[in-house]
Symmetry: C3
Subunit: 351 residues, 3 copies
């Protein structure tokens, strides 16, 4: 059930339209009674509603419950926005609400931002929300130290700033903003906020080091140590460690149709790479890139040869694998704690 109520601020640009949306933590998992009340006020769900009608605001406030922590945040935010209405108007910022009831393909900038918030607020996990069309729906924005700007205007702004004390810096020009401009997940460490997009899911106890990266719709269960790159769609389960510079193949570019994931208690070595979904307790040696098409020699833990050549994709989701390149003959080997016979059966059960 995707039912969520979100209150936030949208920023408009004269030419581009909506540039971006900041939402206070949304109310998710709302019950039928409350949903029905909301539907009478927000009569068109699943799209951005500008809250510029005092009556609508009053009706909304009337059904929010001050004793509910989630509601309280929305009430406080609306109160502040009402107080600052003329300031917001001068800045092309607008109080907005979205009632999300259907998880369909995207066609509204506000809904796209809302879904990214829902992921980063840990209300939904990667791949649980429909993000179809997100690249076409989101506008490209110049993210500056003065806030979001239409990229077409930046060149002019840059030279104007040269005649003032207000230095203007562009942090990025991207369809996705940085996570920490919008959501601060509890109990995480983020060594460089430039490396995590809004829409990333950082579970409690996640540390993302300087070389770590997490794309939108991707993330970690926590606790985890992330010193490598978690591509869009990729999920890393608890207690797994992604070594420095490690790569996980995404589906957006080059990774094909397979959705990559890492199980619990895995170690992906530094500068290694992963092109298959891994089970639990797996290790990939530092510096080794395992693609789906890599052919591996499979050995039992006692060194008994189980198979001379198995495609890595056949090992998808298997637990207790140690994958390394034999440094004396260059062959990629997969050691497993399973006995040869049962392993052999495992490998062939999907054939």
């Amino acid at each position: 059930m995707v039912n969520s109520l979100a209150i936030g601020l949208g920023t408009k640009d004269k030419k581009l339209g909506w540039l971006e949306f900041f939402f206070v933590e949304p109310c998710s998992g709302i019950d039928d009674k409350f949903l029905n009340q909301l539907k009478k006020i927000i009569t068109i769900p699943n799209q951005t509603l500008s809250l510029n009608d005092d009556k609508v605001i009053a009706n909304l406030l009337a059904i929010l419950d001050k004793t509910n922590d989630q509601h309280k945040k929305l009430i406080d935010f609306i109160a502040q926005a009402t107080k600052k209405a003329s300031y917001l108007s001068a800045k092309n910022r607008q109080l907005v609400a979205i009632l999300l009831t259907d998880d369909v393909a995207l066609s509204d900038v506000g809904v796209a931002y809302l879904k990214l918030h829902l992921l980063s607020y840990r209300h939904f996990k990667p791949n649980e929300l429909n993000l179809t069309n997100i690249f076409s729906v989101l506008p490209n924005v110049a993210w500056s130290n003065k806030g979001p700007i239409n990229p077409a205007n930046v060149a002019d702004e840059l030279w104007k700033a040269r005649f003032t004390d207000d230095a203007l810096f562009i942090r990025s020009i991207d369809k996705f903003p940085r996570l920490t401009d919008y959501v601060i997940p509890a109990n995480v460490r983020i060594a460089n906020s430039a490396r995590i997009r809004l829409g990333a899911y950082l579970g409690s106890g996640t540390t993302v080091m300087h070389e770590g990266f997490i794309n939108f719709n991707a993330g970690t269960q926590g606790p985890n140590m992330v010193e490598g790159r978690i591509s869009a769609g990729v999920w890393v389960d608890e207690n797994s460690d992604l070594g420095g510079g490690a790569s996980t193949m995404g589906r957006l570019s080059g990774g094909g149709d397979i959705l990559i994931s890492v199980g619990k208690n895995c170690l992906i070595g530094a500068n290694a790479g992963l092109g298959i979904p891994l089970g639990d307790n797996c290790i990939i040696e530092s510096g080794l890139y395992v693609t789906a098409g890599s052919k591996l020699k499979v050995l039992s833990k006692d060194g008994v040869i189980v198979s001379e050549s198995v495609k890595a994709s056949q090992l998808s989701g298997k637990d207790n694998l140690l994958i390394r390149r034999n440094s004396l003959n260059g062959q990629i080997e997969c050691l497993t704690t399973l006995a040869p016979a049962s392993l052999n059966a495992e490998l062939h059960k999907n054939n």
Copy 2:
């Protein structure tokens, strides 16, 4: 023809002299008539001229054409600088002009900055301008959130700032500033502006992801996806994709004399590396570093062995190559769509 007229602002430091130059988009490809007019006003070309003589400014404005878009930018910039003259003076910023007519080795900070601008404005491509001496000509600058500072002064500024609300942050201490502090190329995405130096050439349709990097005098034709590192001097042609963490060898450190490039429609896999110039439609497997000295087994597309051992440098510029490491025997293989005979002839034509 390097003929260009540039107008901009230079910042001076009491001890270091010129710290940096910001140029509005220069007029390039100027014709002989206009060039001759300019030479009478800017009597010493190819060096920085401080525009502090009202007569010179008036003469310059007199020959600029308000109906020409390029000229219009220069006119507007001069007007603003004139209006803000006392402010600029108080800030050690100076209106400057450069008439570039000879593309010789660098000896002037302003000309060095101008050439970097010309590359990033796409007026010239990487390796088309003479950048000899650039490291000795450019001063090392501390790039702060308050603008450029002489690095020798930063320690004092840091502790002074601790007694004020004006937090001081050093973004980098480098001879090259960030691209986006100076030039915003049209139709690009830049996920982290800290990763692209002024002097980078980003063709239209270029996306540089968080792990991407582009040095000065290097770049992309566009459209391109850049998730790897484009070293100084390296050029990537259209529709090619540099995977996450992919390395291209530069000539500045370790790469020797060979200038690396990537042809059209290539895919350099994640964590791969490239030490030879590639032709079109080539693929390098994720995780594989091909140096010029790597010896490859060459196979036709049908798997027929063409050569047991060819140095990668002999494959420079060849199209339609798929280079990968055989995971069963550790050997680097190069598959090609050419028939064995013609391929064999290709490989040996430079012997």
Copy 3:
């Protein structure tokens, strides 16, 4: 002798207590006479002393020597703090002093910050100071463009900032701040300040490029080119070059008990990795990860086989090695300039 006197500012948070400490360059290597004077004023050494007693400040100033450059910095800093006392108080910033006499395990936030400063000021080299407990002693802090914030407060601050012109950006949420917010080492280049933690030691002549990274308690002798990652505890000696994306194994995660180091005049290739301490004049081929457990074929410079299989850990600290993967058979080879006989003796002397 760890004897150091440090004067600085600490920032307090109502709930977390001390958030961070900024120290002006400390006086290290102080002599017995001065130490005894100090002990009478700072009666409890090795912990943070809030300098809020005018008498203590006066006594301290009385024994500092204006003609001594090190002392002069402390005098100036105290003078400024005294002048700005009410401002600092309003900002929860406090003038502090630490007299460090014993290098014991950490239990005080101020002492932890002081030791990180001492490393970055090049007063001590990596692994020379006792940093035991540093992760438990240091609080996790949100480093914003407005200064340090308790991470628990950031979400509220973020939404408040949306109703003002003062954009709030979180640069990182980490126990360690950026080096350049505290210390600016002389004669270095740092292409991206986000990649170097306070506590890093950057020797004179060190250039850290965009892909370079230096953790706390790690660093370079200088001059060095750093385009790869220097993990905690790792030391790189002069004239060595860490290629783009190169990895050095740390002891914090996965690297085991071995302390990695790189000798003089070494070249670690791009995307390579190092799991053993290297001697001088060594080369590791681009893209090759040498772990301690890698088995190498050892050859003399003339290509004579010295050993068919030697564990990389046995080559620890040896000079003049060239380690590469034979691209025709996938085997890791180590070429050495030593004659086979003497090399053989070398390899076995630790057996």
